[in-house]
Symmetry: C2
Subunit: 555 residues, 2 copies
Amino acid sequence: MKVIVIGGVAAGPKVASKVIRNNPDAEVTIIEKGEFLSYAGCGLPYYISGEVKTQEELMATPVGTVRDTVFFQNVKNVNVLNHTEATAVNPDKKTVTIKGQDGAEEDLNYDKLVLATGASPLRPPIPGIDLQNIFSLHGVEDAEGIKAMLSNRKALNAVIVGGGLIGVEMAEALTHCGCRVSIVEMLPNILPMLDPEMAVLVEKYFESKGVKILNNTTVTKFDGSEKIEFVETDKGKIPADIVLLAIGVRPNVKLAKDANLTIGETGAISVNPQMQTSNADIFAAGDCVECINLVTGKPCYIPLGSTANKQGRVAANNICGINDQFQGVIGSSVCKIFDYTTARTGLSEKAAKEAGFDPVIALAPAPDKAHFLATAKPLLLKLIADKNTRKLLGAQGIGLGVADKRIDVAATAITAEMTIDQLANLDLSYAPPYAPAVDNILTAANILRNKIDGKMDGVSSKEVMQKMENGDKFILLDVRSPAELEMMKIDTALNIPLGKLRGELAQLGDDKSVEIIAFCKISLRGYEAALILNHAGFKNVRVMDGGILMWPYKK
Amino acid sequence: MKVIVIGGVAAGPKVASKVIRNNPDAEVTIIEKGEFLSYAGCGLPYYISGEVKTQEELMATPVGTVRDTVFFQNVKNVNVLNHTEATAVNPDKKTVTIKGQDGAEEDLNYDKLVLATGASPLRPPIPGIDLQNIFSLHGVEDAEGIKAMLSNRKALNAVIVGGGLIGVEMAEALTHCGCRVSIVEMLPNILPMLDPEMAVLVEKYFESKGVKILNNTTVTKFDGSEKIEFVETDKGKIPADIVLLAIGVRPNVKLAKDANLTIGETGAISVNPQMQTSNADIFAAGDCVECINLVTGKPCYIPLGSTANKQGRVAANNICGINDQFQGVIGSSVCKIFDYTTARTGLSEKAAKEAGFDPVIALAPAPDKAHFLATAKPLLLKLIADKNTRKLLGAQGIGLGVADKRIDVAATAITAEMTIDQLANLDLSYAPPYAPAVDNILTAANILRNKIDGKMDGVSSKEVMQKMENGDKFILLDVRSPAELEMMKIDTALNIPLGKLRGELAQLGDDKSVEIIAFCKISLRGYEAALILNHAGFKNVRVMDGGILMWPYKK
């Protein structure tokens, strides 16, 4: 069996190795345009920041073996043609046309073909985009270019265009390199995979680290003589010694399109769960394919190294006649921003509405470990569930605390289609250095149960601010203790500490229909206050989701 | 509705607060023998080590409010009678007999009663057990006693009897206090919730921290005049200035027994999923009840604060007429030992066999984050799955790396009855500072798939050692690189680096039926070697589970 794999970075080498493991007699060839094989693209920001010292570390196995062509030949028995471009796929003849470094073309026969052509960074047709020192970050060469530009120079003005995952990771890396960093984002917030009330808190943290966030801002021109000097936007001009374009990637589908393979609605190659394209002898995997979002059941394009690896295994098994399926993804991601973690999985509140669900949300800010330990750090967790089925739809976690653990638990629960009731009773591992006795995710699940069961009516801090601005009549009731007020307070709120509330109901007046919005630090006591008020006959009591910890406004 | 709750530490206050939240008109009374209410018992080792400075921190809410009787009265509207003992439950009259500090007895009426009587530490009838400075660790008073004993004294000899969770946590705490610590354990290994090959590595780590582990050792006598001076065992005499008994707890079931409530086979109170005892008006929750192990379907007794809280919520809901169920636990636990984490969930390999499953295991030692980052630390993960159903049964994780995250994912997957194939394709959050591109738990799941699908035949390091001792004829084949051998090697192993194996098969001789056991650092290359050897015609090739990282022997 002759197997040709086009692409040698992530999915490609995985397919090749696994085919040989399944079938040691197979003749497997990888065609790779560049020099490098199987490197950790996700590690590039850490190579730029200096945390990873050498290129080789990104290309080595955990025991330090560099995965070069010799490695693939000797260890994996995979033939590698690097510096070689696949210029055409000819499904009728079952051949691939390749062009070597010398420009000579040649046709190679295949029994099975794998497209692992990856993706390329978007470079929008903005005037001046070809000026020097405007970089993308896609391969080792890009990283070397950025490192060379930064070496021995301090206090450069760096402008990152695009506030997605690569943009924010590079904001940290460039800050570590001594740059003054701005992120220019077209949308109202960075990190669009988060809901806005979460993204806004990440932005506040970024600003505390000296990174400037320019939202709702569109780049109109890159200005400079030879090198970039200014980034012009619809909001003004920003000095720039270096620009990083991080506005996303586009799947490399030219070969697939030219071979008349089906391209999906996302613009990436369409594959079935066996990772087969519309041609049964051609498989595809990695950043060039779309896959199913398991929560919506619809195709999505979320290129990730972790997904590429799973898809590669599935493709290899099916190539060797072993039935295996890749069902899809749920959109899990995590990134580190200085000491802050932002992680998410499943659908955001916004995406859940768009997909036709009736989402209910819980905001649970709390320490990530037993609060009496000095190692406990704040974690803000948001869960999204469907009101009708009670199934968990999505989760977002941000903060100095451990977010990735809770998000991975949520990802597992979403995949298993768990309800919030099952989630709330999960037997998670507990000891004070690892979690509160009731883990943050269980607390959030219980808030969801209270809301869906009609025990608690939530209102977002944004809605409260809008009511204030509209001059609506309502009582904003802060039930924290006087000491807590000294740290942070909302000026117009009435303060009655929870312990005194039962005795001081008179302060709220005689009109039982008045709207009261109760809150505390995290709105657990706010919830207890609402129950007391409901019991006292007040008809219109709500709780501010997440308490004052979710209040992003100045006062 | 009158609700009486007996017990004020964990489950009791939870039931009381939740009943009032559900039904503000309910009249709820907590009866508590001691002074203290609702304190974090799991925090006591950290109070002794000094990481937690004051008692109050263990009794406070996350915002610093101390949960004393006034707090329960004012905030929760729960009546608390502390320093009060419940001496009898009279189900026919629906009364509880209580005895106050003055010794006067009184009968209180209830509509619903909750037994949250907790558990007591076992104190075996060993001669000398009443000597001074022999402590248990169960309540704040015990912790104060130990602290007083240790204050301003250094280099004491501390002997911990029992190597369970409290024993090992206290081994760290007492080491921090300057003690020379020994753990005396009757069983062959400490931490019996782990399989032996995992426990043995924890023991090695403990010894590297100066803690002496005495396994297979039974205490026969506590010796001394007034104070403890020596612990006598069947293996010899150990000097001791302080002894901590940590051999487990026994549920407090006297009241329940006397009231003719059903006691389960574990010795704890038997309850249904509504947390009802055999008397429909009497509920029970927390450390005094047994519950169902969701993997075996059988009752188990695993007292934990995290479980108590969930059970308390369910009991309160059912008391208030809201249907709610606590289905059971899967035995998740985690503990911190210096910088080492040991976590586990579900069934151990041993327990899986005993429960009638056909367990297959995977050992996956690997860095817990992208290996090119300096923050990556070793994590050794073991998964246990059932060969027939392919369902995940259990997981154990130990090491300096992040174990609790993988164990919580496993706990969620076990609860959802996921197969290892579903597990292997989970979309977990990935970025280099949080996980390898293929998370440790996915790697382990893939090893299980390879084993169950017959692609890989594993053998434990223990079995290899036995074969060596028996003088069995076999080739132990180390396929690591020469540089790796310098760190650690097995003297009798033949070394052929994986990359050279295809060319040097002659070294293995002509007898294709010879048994070959291949390994590398973690046995991934060992697996590749086995595939190469199988392809070359060798008929009897196995892989040593977990590689040399799972080799606990001297050579």
